[in-house]
């Protein structure tokens, strides 16, 4: 465990000196948290909305239950941003891992590290931890700020109750870390072939395509994100993560790195 932390601390010391990575890790959560809060603030000041059942999908209206029109509209609007709390744990690890792994390739520092008594799994775990932990902290921290913000900006307590229900909590605290693990695994596989961290990052960002599909599906009313869907996503992700970790571990063997990572 000690060496995993040594690797992770070194990664943070080095990667966060890169302004681009720092921007992604620091500002992306701020922007994605602020956006729904700004919308909340604007809708909150627009006064009572009355009956909004004609303006939002019927499946969502059922979720509103005893919420009044303004609360229901606010809840509907901020629900669109639920997916942002899935975007953060995907985007941040990709950025960190791409710069971390491809950076080591281009500076030829992997071989001296592999020459030490560190186990390959410790090295991979250290790099994964360095990428996943900031993403998870940013996601959970962003969500907590979001909850506090909703507390102050929502038109009624019903909105806050809805965003701390199982749907949001599973999405943030279960799906988030699982998405981060998937993201890092993809970044490892892509980085083994890429020689430029920006190329690795851009290719690894393809891991966000399913999420974007979900987002547009929701906006167009084709998909409705509920607890059942989120639970299924978590289960699928557990299986997918296991597979990705296996493939990433195979690619991260000493001999493979030294002879095939060019």
């Amino acid at each position: 465990m000690k060496k995993i932390w040594v690797i992770a601390r070194k990664e943070w010391a080095e990667v966060f000196k890169n302004r681009f990575v720092l921007f992604t890790v620091a500002f992306l959560p701020i922007i994605l948290t602020a956006l729904p809060l700004i919308i909340l603030g604007v809708t909150g000041s627009s006064g009572e909305m009355g009956d909004v059942s004609d303006e939002i999908p019927s499946e969502f209206v059922q979720l509103c239950n005893n919420l009044d029109g303004s609360e229901c509209m606010q809840y509907f609007l901020v629900s669109q941003f639920l997916l942002l709390f899935m975007l953060l744990p995907l985007a941040i690890p990709v950025t960190i891992a791409s710069y971390s792994i491809v950076g080591e390739k281009t500076t030829h520092t992997l071989e001296p590290v592999l020459a030490t008594p560190i186990k390959t799994i410790e090295l991979l775990a250290g790099k994964a931890l360095a990428a996943v932990l900031p993403a998870v902290i940013a996601t959970w921290g962003g969500f907590l700020i979001f909850v506090v913000g909703v507390l102050f900006l929502s038109v009624g307590p019903g909105v806050v109750d809805r965003i701390i229900d199982p749907l949001w909590l599973i999405t943030t605290f279960v799906l988030g870390p699982l998405l981060s693990i998937a993201s890092v695994s993809v970044a490892v596989m892509v980085s083994s072939r890429a020689n430029d961290p920006r190329v690795a990052e851009q290719l690894s960002m393809l891991v966000m395509i399913p999420l974007l599909g979900l987002f547009f599906g929701q906006v167009m009313g084709l998909i409705f994100i509920n607890e059942t869907l989120v639970l299924w996503m978590a289960l699928v992700l557990v299986v997918v993560d296991a597979g990705l970790i296996f493939f990433a571990t195979q690619l991260f063997q000493r001999e493979t790195i030294l002879t095939r990572w060019k």
């Binding site: 070194k10 890169n18 071989e111 020459a115 008594p117 000493r254 002879t259």
Partner: protein
């Protein structure tokens, strides 16, 4: 301290190392010479347990490669061919990181010791990316020594350095030799190998020769003594040719070059014969063939053999 028996490595159809067998004793500086692509780096990687051999066995510092790899990594230091550094991190931070991976007990103490020893202490807080080539090389040497390894593997330690920096590194290696460290060194600098190495191995996928530089010279060229005369050398070649132990005589202008087995015993006889024949001897010395001559001879011979086989 280092032993390889029939060590072989293939990458698919490409045979990189072909049945290498050698032994390096404790405290020895061993030079491993060969052209680019000969398999030297692959050999070092196998000996330091970075890659697995296709067949054969080896052990380093008493530990078997393939079975006690962690122990080998704890007891071997390696200066890789492309010695990378974390450019955004300071010299201190670079070394502290590796000291922790090598499980060094007194990380700060050891880092300070080597930074001072290599003249990098004053710049310890500066990012490694701001260092000159010579300073970077010193920093990576420090990195290879932090855990006080019994065996050092140096892959082209003076490659790309200016003469001053190269001399600093060579002097430092000389100091390590005097300390009794075992050093396995790959180098293209034959003068450096001649100066530093106790024995050398000439390698091109397989081992072509292995011995001390002097022994290799003797094996290929024998020993030659040169007499600088006041007169033309051709006048006295006949005199020397008649002496039984003389193998060959050549002359160029006023220089007479005589091939013999034991100059220490036979020189006085040669001097007497020349003086009695009327020669005025200005200087006497042994002709020293360069290691480059030996290396090129061996490598070219092997290439010619390979070409003949293929034809």
């Amino acid at each position: 301290m280092i032993e390889a028996q029939e060590l072989t490595k293939s990458f698919g159809d490409n045979l990189a190392v072909d049945r290498l067998s050698l032994k390096v004793e404790e405290g020895e500086v061993f030079g491993f010479l060969g052209p680019n692509g000969a398999g030297k780096t692959t050999t070092i990687r196998m000996l330091t347990a970075l890659i697995k051999p296709t067949s054969g066995r080896s052990n380093v510092a008493g530990y078997e490669v393939g079975q006690q790899d962690d122990q080998i990594r704890r007891n071997a230091g390696i200066l890789t061919e492309a010695p990378g550094l974390y450019e955004r991190l300071s010299a201190t931070r670079n070394l502290e990181f590796f000291a922790q991976l090598y499980e060094v007990e007194d990380v700060k103490g050891q880092v300070e010791r080597y930074l001072r020893m290599l003249g990098l202490w004053e710049r310890r807080h500066e990012p490694a990316g701001t260092f000159s080539k010579g300073m970077r090389q010193k920093l990576v040497i420090a990195r290879a020594l932090l855990h006080e390894p019994k065996v050092l593997f140096l892959d082209e330690p003076t490659s790309g350095l200016d003469p001053e920096a190269a001399k600093l590194v060579r002097d430092f290696i000389g100091g390590l030799k005097r300390e009794g460290r075992t050093i396995f060194m790959c180098t293209h600098n034959l003068a450096e190998a001649d100066h530093l190495c106790d024995r050398i191995g000439v390698f091109n996928t397989k081992l072509l020769a292995l011995d001390t530089p002097s022994a290799l010279r003797r094996q290929l060229y024998g020993r030659s003594v040169v007499f600088h005369l006041a007169q033309d050398g051709s006048r006295f070649s006949g005199v020397v040719e008649k002496i039984p132990f003389v193998q060959e005589v050549n002359y160029v202008d006023n220089k007479l070059v005589v091939n013999v087995d034991k100059p220490e015993d036979q020189n006085p006889i040669l001097v007497r014969a020349l003086v009695e024949a009327g020669a005025d001897i200005q200087f006497v010395g042994e002709v020293r063939r360069s290691l480059e001559d030996v290396y090129l001879h061996l490598v070219k011979n092997e290439e010619e053999k390979e070409n003949t086989l293929h034809n």
